[in-house]
């Protein structure tokens, strides 16, 4: 079998495209988790972003309003989570799960009127350069702005966490909210901000799905990507750069599954769908062998409620 280099390029491009929502959602969730908050509502926030983006695009006709609106929708739904877990001190896990269920339900309700409506074409950048270099240029050029944003986001996130004062504060809160509070850091404010930022990124990830990746509204169209994004954060051991690698692997598994089916390789689809989770567990087992490393990279207060006693 001769492998066409352009065909390989095409596969890589499609893997990257499928990695975009994973990168966006997990970079957002990574910031949230670094502040010590475990938000399991990623899937719910993504699907809210997806329906909001699609609905706003259909109603207003403006892609810009739709994308920004989807992010705002993500922020709004994550505000519910933030209010419950930070102000009313509810359990992170239960609240996050409820958020996902709520998101899936409400998106299906709003989405009823938008089923079957065709999406709009989303403008791509550097279209003219797309055919200049074989193999490379389809990978590099001719994608939406969200695509480019997603592939630079891990680097910005890394820079933010490691090099900026605010990033240090986020890490400090995740390490020990009690100490942070005693140092005069407003733990609630930091955690609220991180949750809301995570919501915005999940909203954007959802909008990418319904407006760019498959421009239409289908009920439950996130299809478990939120859960993969959550697994990805753990897989990356809370390191944004590793999210990039992980998203390519996890995204690749989906794409390769299509091509393998086309080539007649018979691997059960269910197995391939389960692979990201299996890989995450394997990675967890490997890193857990080094207790020091896991201690240094995991936010110590992850999932624990913090309240000041006065």
């Amino acid at each position: 079998m001769i492998i066409d280099i352009n065909f390989v390029g095409l596969i890589i491009t499609s893997i990257m495209a499928s990695a975009v929502p994973l990168i966006l959602a997990s970079c957002g969730e990574l910031i949230t988790e670094r502040s010590g908050v475990l938000n399991l509502g990623v899937e719910g926030m993504m699907i809210i972003g997806a329906i909001s983006g699609f609905a706003l695009m259909t109603v207003t006709g403006s892609l810009f309003i739709a994308v920004v609106g989807a992010m705002i929708a993500g922020v709004l739904i994550s505000t519910i989570f933030a209010f419950l877990t930070q102000t009313l001190i509810t359990n992170h896990v239960a609240t996050g799960l409820a958020l996902t269920i709520f998101g899936i339900g409400i998106s299906a309700m709003i989405g009823k009127n938008f089923v079957g409506i065709p999406g709009k074409e989303f403008p791509v950048l550097f279209k003219s350069l797309k055919d200049t270099i074989p193999f490379l240029s389809p990978i590099l050029f001719g994608h939406s702005i969200v695509f480019y944003f997603a592939f630079t986001l891990p680097f910005f996130t890394n820079y933010f966490l490691k090099k900026t004062k605010l990033g240090l504060i986020v890490r400090a809160v995740g390490d020990s909210p009690e100490s942070a509070s005693n140092q005069g850091i407003n733990v609630k404010l930091v955690r609220y901000s991180c949750i809301l930022y995570g919501g915005a990124m999940c909203g954007l990830a959802g909008a990418y799905l319904s407006m760019i990746y498959t421009p239409q509204w289908i009920e439950n169209m996130t299809g478990g990507r939120g859960w993969i994004a959550l697994a990805l954060v753990v897989f990356s051991t809370w390191n944004p750069i590793k999210i990039l690698i992980g998203a390519m692997i996890f995204g690749g598994l989906t794409i390769i599954q299509f091509h393998m089916q086309a080539m007649g390789v018979r691997i059960p689809v269910q197995f391939l769908t389960a692979l990201p989770y299996i890989v995450t567990i394997v990675v967890l087992v490997v890193i857990s062998r080094d207790s020091r490393k896991i201690r240094l990279s995991t936010p110590s207060s992850l999932g624990k409620s913090f309240y000041k006693d006065n």
């Binding site: 890490r171 400090a172 020990s176 009690e178 100490s179 942070a180 005693n182 207790s291 020091r292 110590s300």
Partner: protein, 498 residues
């Protein structure tokens, strides 16, 4: 420049407890003040108010005659009040430098320079670029102190600073504190250790049950007078009678080695010792030198070579704690709330946790609640645990009461050997006294004790023989009468004595 800190009529009430009942005090710079009291006397509440962590219900604070509004720790910092908490407020996974820069407005370069200067001036040696979790307790405390010094504080409050320090580290700390005081920093020193007050401070304020009992100069006080003020009654001093020299060997450890895969644990190197009946063997050492590994091996949490531990002529090195209890061993681990008891469980449920075969606590897999409750009530009355509610969750017991409960739970089966690890850590004088009395009593009943402790006074008071553990190695075993705390200090630091 003189600093005058005045607090007047501070009241803080919690449901069911008055933490500060109309407390007024005045401090002047140039002196070191002790704030003395038992656990729960309200001194921690008072300093938390001074550092802005807790807001008082009533009362005012003045710094140099200006009224201070301390609504958050930030306000205290802004007003040059520095505080080193008993439980460090550090971010373990961040580097030392990151810990210091987080609340500083200076550039990295300036701050680093400033820190280097401070470290040079006070002889602190700390690598700024390692994560805090790599540091020893003494080093962590220095990081906290540096954090305060960066801001050129007028007031420095130290909350129970020596509870995690070794003898040497304590001396170093006292030298630094005296230096700070000479430089005009007002120092408030919170403690329940009387010796330290006498050694370090100029004036002492004693608190009891939320009230200020007395303010006096140290030169007019001695340990007994302070202890009596603190407890509010005359404390009887307990002394150990010299044990009859018994030759009946109870436990013998031979060639015990332990190599850990965990970099945070200490390897044990060729440990040999034996304890006779009726004897108390004290094991001194700076925390983290292998004590917790040794305790875990002795208690069976870590299984070792079968022949390395001989107890009552049986080889038991490969038995788990449960099985060792059947041979009449008993254990009181260091961490009361994490290792010895389950905080969310009720008192009587915790009592059942070390269930021994003969107890009949469980029948056909079912819990015999009445039996356990009866047993729990007996422990509570026999061991003076200050509660009558055995349904109470253990986390609501004070440290002293919880320790009495645990020791009681272990002793009520009348074991031949009790192995305890820092049994009085963080307890107040009354509770310490009670625990010490109990330990002496069981020695008198011809039972043996292995006492692993970082408190040298305690070891000298209770032990018949003492050894020091340093970097996983045990020193030779010495008779307690020949040992002084200075000698122990040298051995604990890795030195040699002849």
């Amino acid at each position: 420049m003189n600093t005058n800190l005045k607090i007047s009529n501070i009241i803080k009430i919690y449901p069911g407890c008055i933490a500060n009942d109309n407390v007024s005090l005045e401090f002047e710079s140039g002196k070191i003040y002790a704030l003395l009291g038992e656990n729960g006397a309200g001194k921690s509440t008072l300093v938390k108010i001074l550092s802005g962590v807790i807001i008082p219900d009533q009362g005012k604070i003045f710094l140099n005659k200006n009224i201070l509004k301390l609504n958050s720790p930030l306000d205290a910092k802004k007003n040059d009040i520095g505080m080193v908490f008993q439980h460090f407020n550090l971010f373990e996974t961040l580097s030392v430098f990151e810990n210091l820069i987080i609340d500083s407005d200076e550039t990295k370069e300036n701050l680093r320079e400033k820190i280097e200067l401070i470290m040079k001036k006070y002889n602190f040696l700390i690598n700024l670029d390692v994560p805090v979790l790599n540091l020893s307790a003494g080093q962590k405390q220095k990081v906290e102190i540096i954090r305060c010094l960066i801001r050129n504080p007028k007031v420095l409050i130290m909350d129970e600073p020596t509870s995690v320090l070794t003898e040497q580290e304590t001396s170093e700390l006292f030298l630094s504190l005296k230096k700070f005081s000479e430089e005009g920093i007002l120092i408030i020193y919170i403690t329940h250790k009387l010796k330290e007050v006498i050694r370090l401070c100029d004036e002492v304020a004693v608190m009891r049950k939320g009230k200020l009992v007395s303010v006096s100069e140290i030169k007019n006080e001695n340990i007994e007078s302070l202890a009596n003020k603190m407890v509010g009654q005359n404390l009887k001093t307990i002394k150990k009678k010299k044990a009859k020299t018994s030759t009946d060997q109870l436990i013998k450890i031979t060639n015990l080695n332990f190599i850990s895969e965990d970099p945070f644990e200490t390897n044990l190197n060729n440990i040999n010792f034996s304890v006779n009946r009726g004897e108390c063997l004290g094991i001194a050492g700076i925390s983290g030198n292998g004590q917790s590994e040794l305790f875990q091996i002795l208690s069976g949490e870590i299984i070792s070579n079968k022949n390395s531990i001989e107890f009552n002529k049986n080889y038991i090195g490969d038995l788990n704690p449960q099985e060792r209890r059947e041979y009449l061993m008993a254990f009181s681990p260091e961490d009361r709330l994490e290792q010895a008891a389950i905080p969310q469980m009720k008192i009587f449920e915790n009592v059942a946790l070390n269930n021994f075969k003969s107890s009949n606590f469980f029948k056909n897999g079912l819990i015999n609640e009445n039996k356990i409750k009866e047993h729990a009530k007996k422990i509570i009355s026999d061991f003076n645990v200050n509660t009558d509610n055995i349904e109470l969750k253990s986390q609501f017991l004070s440290g002293g009461n919880l320790q009495k409960l645990i020791i009681g739970r272990e002793l009520i089966t009348s074991p031949d050997l009790l192995i305890c690890f820092n049994p009085t850590w963080g307890l107040d004088v009354g509770a310490i006294n009670y625990i010490h009395e109990t330990l002496i009593k069981i020695n008198e009943q011809d039972k043996s004790i292995i006492l692993i402790s970082t408190d040298t006074d305690e070891l000298l008071k209770l032990s018949d023989k003492i050894s020091v553990i340093h970097k996983g190695k045990l020193s030779k075993i010495m008779n307690a009468e020949e040992v002084t705390s200075e000698k122990l200090g040298v051995l604990m630091g890795g030195g040699e004595i002849d």
